[in-house]
C-alpha cells in the first residue's frame, strides 16, 4: 500500500503544487518549496520500498490492458532522484534569478512595462517548472505508451514556454523553433503509437514486448515513433532546435532543459528499443542508433568548440553528451541483451545520463551566476573569474571533469563501463568515439576554464554574488565529480528489478 501511494505521489505531488501556483502566481515560490519537500519525502519512501524489490501499481483497478500500469525500478528511481536533485537546485537558484529588486515604482511608461514583464516572468516560472516535473515523472513511471505521450507533451510545452520567458526577440524565435520541432516530434510519435494500437490493441510496454513484431506496419510504427523521439531528444541530425532554445532560456530553465528534458524522450526510446519492441530490434538497426550517437558526439563537440558564448557552448555540449547514451543500443540491445557485457553497457549509460544531468545543471547555474555578475556570457569576458568568483569556477571545473569522463567522476564510471563493454563485445570502434569524445570535451571546456584562470587587462565591473549562491552549482558539480567514488551502491541500486542481471561481475 505504502509503495503504491509513493509511486502515485511522485506524479501527483508536483502536480498538486503546480495547480495553486497557477491560481496564486505571486506565491509560486512557496508552493514550489512545499511541492519540493513533499516529493522528496515521497521519493525517500519509494527508495526504502524499492530495497525489497521493484514496485508497481495498476491504475483504475482494472487489470492491464484496460488499466494503466505504473512501475518503478532502480533505474527509474535513479532518474527520479536526478530530477529531484536538479529541480531542488534550480528552484532554490530561481529565487535569486527572479528576485524582484525592490525599487521605487518607475515613473516612465517604459520602465513600468519592463517591471511588469519581469514580474510576469517570475510568476510564470514556478508553475511551469512544476508542470514540467509532473510530466517528466509521468513518463518515467508509466508503462503505457499513450500515457507517456501525455507526459511528453506536458514536458515539451512547459519547456517551450520556459524558453519564451525572457520575452525578447531572440527568445521568442528560439521558442517558436522549439515548438515547431516539438510538435513535429509529438505528431510522429502519436502516429506511430496509433499504428501500434491498431496492430496489437494494447499500448502496454510489457504486453507489447511479448507480441510478435513481424508485420511491415509494426516496423513502420517503430520507425515513425523513433524518429519522433529523436527529434525530442535532439539526437544528431535532429538537434537544430536545441542550442538556441537552451541558450535563450533563463539560466534556471536552461539547467532543467539540458539536464532533464532530452532524457525524457530518450527514456522512451530505451523503453521501446530494449523492451516493447525488442523483438524487432535487429543488429543493423541498433547499429544505426549507435552511429547516430557517435556522430552526435563528434559533431556536437566540434560545434561547441566554435561558440563564442558560454551558454551556447554548454548547449552544444548537451548535443554531444546525449550521443553517448545511444551506444547502449548496439552494446546492450537485441541479441546483445543476453551477453555478459550488456549489464556494463546498460549501467554505464545510466551513469552517463545521471552524471551528465548533474554536471550540466551545475554548468548552466554557473553560467547564470556569471551572467548576473557580468551582464553577458561571452567566453572571452570571463577573464579573471577565478579571482572574483572562485567557487563557481571550481564548480564549473568539477562539472567539466565529469563531462570529460576523468576520474573520480560519475562520467568516468560511465565511460569505463562503456569502454569495457565495447572491448568485451569486440566493437572497439565505439571505444574510439568514447575516448575521442572525452578529448574533444576537454578541448571545448578548456576555453572557458582558461579564460577564467587568466588575469584580465582591466578588472571587469561586477555585481557581487554571495558565496551561498555560488555553492549551489558547486554541490551539483561535487555530486557529479564524486559519483564515481561512491559508485558501488548506485550500481547495485540500478539493477533493482532488472530481469536479465546476474549477480556478480562478468
Amino acid at each position: 500500500m505504502t509503495s503504491e501511494v509513493a509511486v502515485v505521489g511522485m506524479v501527483l505531488l508536483p502536480l498538486l503544487a503546480a495547480l495553486p501556483a497557477v491560481v496564486w502566481p505571486r506565491q509560486g515560490k512557496h508552493f514550489a518549496a512545499v511541492g519540493l519537500v513533499a516529493t522528496w519525502v515521497c521519493l525517500t519512501v519509494l527508495w526504502i520500498q524499492l530495497w525489497q524489490g521493484p514496485v508497481s501499481v495498476v491504475l483504475g483497478s482494472w487489470p492491464v490492458p484496460l488499466g494503466i500500469a505504473w512501475a518503478v525500478d532502480g533505474a527509474r528511481a535513479a532518474l527520479f532522484t536526478l530530477a529531484g536533485a536538479v529541480m531542488t537546485a534550480v528552484l532554490i537558484y530561481a529565487r535569486k534569478e527572479f528576485a524582484l529588486v525592490h525599487q521605487p515604482e518607475p515613473t516612465s511608461q517604459k520602465g513600468r512595462e519592463k517591471l511588469l514583464g519581469q514580474r510576469r516572468q517570475a510568476e510564470s516560472f514556478w508553475p511551469l517548472m512544476l508542470l514540467l516535473w509532473t510530466g517528466l515523472n509521468l513518463v518515467v513511471v508509466t508503462d503505457d505508451l499513450f500515457n507517456a505521450y501525455v507526459g511528453l507533451e506536458l514536458v515539451s510545452l512547459s519547456a517551450v514556454a520556459v524558453v519564451a520567458l525572457a520575452g525578447n526577440a531572440e527568445a521568442l524565435s528560439a521558442s517558436l523553433r522549439y515548438l515547431a520541432y516539438a510538435l513535429m516530434g509529438s505528431l510522429w510519435y502519436l502516429l506511430g503509437v496509433t499504428l501500434l494500437y491498431g496492430q496489437h490493441a494494447t499500448l502496454d510496454v510489457g504486453l507489447l514486448s511479448q507480441a510478435a513484431w513481424s508485420t511491415p506496419t509494426d516496423i513502420l510504427a517503430l520507425a515513425i515513433i523513433t524518429v519522433g523521439l529523436f527529434i525530442k531528444t535532439a539526437l544528431f541530425p535532429f538537434h537544430a532546435w536545441l542550442p538556441s532554445a537552451h541558450a535563450s532560456a533563463p539560466a534556471a530553465g536552461s539547467a532543467v532543459l539540458s539536464a532533464l528534458v532530452p532524457k525524457v524522450a530518450f527514456l522512451l526510446i530505451l523503453k521501446i528499443w530494449l523492451d516493447a519492441g525488442a523483438a524487432a530490434a535487429s543488429p543493423a538497426a541498433l547499429n544505426v542508433l549507435g552511429v547516430l550517437g557517435a556522430m552526435a558526439v563528434v559533431y556536437g563537440s566540434l560545434l561547441a568548440l566554435r561558440q563564442e558564448r558560454l551558454k551556447l557552448l554548454i548547449a552544444w555540449s548537451t548535443v554531444a553528451q546525449i550521443g553517448y547514451l545511444f551506444f547502449v543500443f548496439p552494446l546492450a540491445g537485441g541479441p546483445a541483451q543476453e551477453q555478459p557485457w550488456s549489464t556494463d553497457a546498460w549501467s554505464g549509460m545510466w551513469f552517463q545520463l545521471v552524471s551528465h544531468g548533474l554536471a550540466k545543471a551545475a554548468m548552466f547555474l554557473c553560467a547564470g551566476l556569471w551572467l548576473q555578475a557580468l551582464g553577458h556570457d561571452r567566453i572571452t569576458g570571463l577573464r579573471g573569474m577565478v579571482n572574483y568568483m572562485p567557487i563557481t569556477v571550481l564548480a564549473f571545473g568539477l562539472a567539466g571533469v565529469s563531462l570529460m569522463g576523468l576520474p573520480p567522476s560519475g562520467g568516468f564510471a560511465a565511460k569505463y563501463l562503456l569502454l569495457v563493454a565495447a572491448f568485451a563485445a569486440g566493437q572497439w570502434w565505439w571505444a574510439v568515439v568514447i575516448v575521442l569524445g572525452g578529448l574533444l570535451a576537454a578541448l571545448y571546456l578548456y576555453r572557458p576554464l582558461a579564460a577564467a584562470m587568466s588575469r584580465p587587462e582591466t578588472p571587469p565591473e561586477l555585481k557581487p554574488v554571495a558565496a551561498g549562491w555560488q555553492c549551489l552549482p558547486l554541490l551539483l558539480a561535487l555530486t557529479a565529480a564524486l559519483l564515481g567514488l561512491a559508485s558501488a551502491w548506485p550500481f547495485e541500486a540500478l539493477q533493482i528489478g532488472r530481469p536479465d542481471w546476474q549477480e556478480g561481475p562478468l
Binding site: 579571482n387 571533469v401 564510471a413 578548456y446 587568466s454 559508485s487
Partner: protein, 489 residues
C-alpha cells in the same frame, strides 16, 4: 590497522588540501599549520611503515566501485621508495613555499592544489592495481594545471595549455591500454602478475606501446617532452616538486610498475620490447643534455636536464638486469633530491637576486654562500662525481648495462656525463670564479633562513646518500631490497 595505514597515508595530504580550499586568504597561520602538520604527520607515518615493510609486513585497503573498478591501496617496498621521497620533499617544499610566497595573493588556492598534487602522488605510489594507478594519475594531471597556471599571466596560461595538450591525450592512451588489457585478462593488480596468455604477442606489443606512450608523456620521453620546459613558467616551488617528485616521477614510476608488475620481466624479455624502450631512453638522455647545453635561462637548462635524467630511471627499468634496475630505482630518489635542490636554488636566485639568466650568476657564490654551496653539491651530483649520490646511480646503471649484454649503455652514460659536466661546470665556474658585475655587487645579500634551509638539507642528503650508500636504509639499500624481493621471491 593494516587497512587504516594506507588510508592514513593518503589522508594526511588529502584532508589538509581539502580544508585549505575552504580557508580564507587571510588565514595564513591556519593554512601553513595545516600544510606543515600534514607533511610532518605523513613523514612520521612513512617512517613507521618503512620499518614495518622492511620486516615483511603488508598493508592494504580495498574499496569497491562499479564492478571491475576497485580502489586498491597497498604498501610494498617499491611503493615506499616513491612514497618516502614524496613525503620528505613535500615537507621541505612546503617550508620553502611558505617563505617563497611571503604575502603574495591566492595562497589558499596554491596550497590546496599543492596538497592535492601530493595526495595524487601518494596515491600513485600506494596504488595496488592498474586502474587505481590510473585514477590517481589523472588526479595528478588535473591538480597540476592550476599550479602551472598559478601566476595567471600569458606565459603560465600557455604553459598550462601545452601541459594539457600532452597530458590529456597521454592519459587517454593509457586508459585505452588498461581497458584493452583488462578486457582480456581481468583486473590487473600489481601484487600478482596477470596471466597474459589470452592475448597474442602482437596485441601485447601494441598494448605495451600504448602504455609507454601514455606514461612517456609524464616521464618526458623524447619526443613527448615538449610540455616540460614550457612548464617552467610556474612558480619555483611548483617546478621543484614537478621535476623532482610529482609529475615526471609518476611517469617513470608507472613505467617501472608496468614492466615489473604488469608484464613481468620474462614477458618483456620474450616480447623484445625492453630493448626498444632502452634505446628511446638513451636517445632522450643524450638529446635532453644537448638541448640543456643550448639554454641560457637557468630554469630552462634545468628543465632539459630533467628530461635527460629521468630517462636514467626508464633505462634502468628497460634493461631488465638486477643491477640496472637498482641503478634506475635509486636514481628515482637521487635525481629527486638533486633536482629539487637545484630548483630551490634557482628559485632563490630569481626571487632574491633577480637572476634568471646564466650570465647573472657571475660572482654570486661568495654573496649567497649557502644557496651556492647547495647548488654546487647538487650540480656535481648530477654530473656523477663521487662521492655524491649521482655517482652511485650511474655506477649501477653501467654495471647493469654490461650485465644485460648491452655494452653501448656505458657509452651513453659516458657521453651523458660529459654533457652534464659541459652544462653544469660553467655555472659553477661563474658562481665561484668570475667577478660580479657592478650593479649586482652593490645589492645586499638576501638569504633568509626559511628559504635556504630546504636546499641545504637536500644537498646534505645528496652527500649522505652517496657517502653512506651501504646502509640498509639508504636509497641504495632500499632499492636493493626491492630488487631482491623481485628476483628472489
Amino acid at each position: 590497522m593494516s587497512a587504516a595505514l594506507p588510508l592514513a597515508l593518503l589522508m594526511s595530504s588529502l584532508l589538509p588540501a581539502l580544508i585549505t580550499f575552504c580557508l580564507p586568504e587571510k588565514a595564513r597561520a591556519w593554512r601553513n599549520g595545516l600544510s606543515l602538520g600534514g607533511a610532518a604527520l605523513m613523514l612520521t607515518l612513512v617512517v613507521y611503515t618503512l620499518q614495518a615493510v622492511a620486516m615483511g609486513a603488508q598493508f592494504e585497503l580495498r574499496y569497491s566501485l562499479v564492478p571491475g573498478l576497485d580502489l586498491w591501496l597497498r604498501t610494498d617496498a617499491l611503493s615506499l621508495l616513491f612514497l618516502t621521497l614524496s613525503a620528505a620533499l613535500w615537507l621541505l617544499t612546503t617550508i620553502y613555499a611558505i617563505n617563497y610566497f611571503g604575502h603574495k595573493p591566492n595562497q589558499s588556492r596554491f596550497f590546496a592544489f599543492f596538497g592535492l598534487c601530493v595526495a595524487a602522488t601518494s596515491g600513485i605510489a600506494l596504488s595496488g592495481s592498474l586502474i587505481t594507478f590510473f585514477i590517481f594519475y589523472e588526479l595528478l594531471t588535473l591538480s597540476t594545471w592550476p599550479l602551472v597556471t598559478h601566476k595567471q599571466d600569458e606565459r603560465s596560461i600557455a604553459a598550462g595549455r601545452s601541459y594539457l595538450t600532452f597530458a590529456l591525450p597521454g592519459s587517454t592512451v593509457l586508459l585505452v591500454a588498461i581497458v584493452w588489457l583488462e578486457s582480456a585478462v581481468g583486473p590487473v593488480s600489481f601484487g600478482a602478475p596477470a596471466e597474459l596468455q589470452t592475448l597474442s604477442d602482437t596485441s601485447l606489443r601494441w598494448i605495451f606501446l600504448l602504455f609507454m606512450l601514455g606514461l612517456g608523456v609524464k616521464a618526458a620521453l623524447v619526443p613527448l617532452h615538449g610540455w616540460l620546459p614550457a612548464a617552467m613558467a610556474a612558480p619555483a616551488p611548483v617546478s621543484a616538486l614537478l621535476h623532482a617528485v610529482a609529475v615526471v616521477k609518476a611517469g617513470a614510476f608507472g613505467i617501472v610498475r608496468v614492466i615489473y608488475d604488469v608484464f613481468g620481466i620474462e614477458r618483456v624479455a620474450e616480447l623484445g620490447v625492453g630493448l626498444g624502450l632502452a634505446v628511446v631512453a638513451s636517445v632522450t638522455i643524450v638529446w635532453g643534455s644537448l638541448r640543456a647545453l643550448q639554454q641560457t635561462d637557468i630554469k630552462r637548462r634545468l628543465a632539459f636536464s630533467t628530461v635527460s635524467q629521468v630517462s636514467y630511471i626508464v633505462l634502468g627499468a628497460a634493461l631488465i638486469g638486477p643491477f640496472a634496475v637498482i641503478g634506475g630505482l635509486v636514481h628515482l630518489v637521487h635525481q629527486g633530491l638533486m633536482k629539487i635542490t637545484l630548483f630551490f636554488c634557482a628559485g632563490i636566485y630569481d626571487e632574491r637576486a633577480d637572476v634568471r639568466e646564466v650570465v647573472g650568476l657571475n660572482g654570486l657564490g661568495p654573496r649567497m654562500p649557502w644557496t651556492s654551496v647547495a647548488f654546487s653539491i647538487a650540480a656535481m651530483g648530477m654530473i656523477g662525481l663521487p662521492p655524491m649520490a649521482g655517482f652511485v646511480s650511474k655506477w649501477y646503471l653501467g654495471i647493469g648495462g654490461l650485465q644485460s649484454g648491452q655494452p653501448w649503455v656505458v657509452a651513453v652514460l659516458i657521453a651523458s656525463t660529459l654533457l652534464n659536466a659541459a652544462y653544469f661546470l660553467p655555472l659553477l665556474y661563474r658562481l665561484w670564479f668570475l667577478p660580479a658585475d657592478a650593479a649586482q655587487s652593490t645589492r645586499p645579500s638576501a638569504e633568509s633562513f626559511g628559504l635556504v634551509l630546504p636546499p641545504v638539507a637536500t644537498a646534505a642528503v645528496v652527500l649522505a646518500a652517496g657517502l653512506m650508500a651501504g646502509l640498509a636504509f639508504s636509497p641504495l639499500g632500499w632499492a636493493t631490497l626491492i630488487v631482491e624481493r623481485l628476483y628472489l621471491p
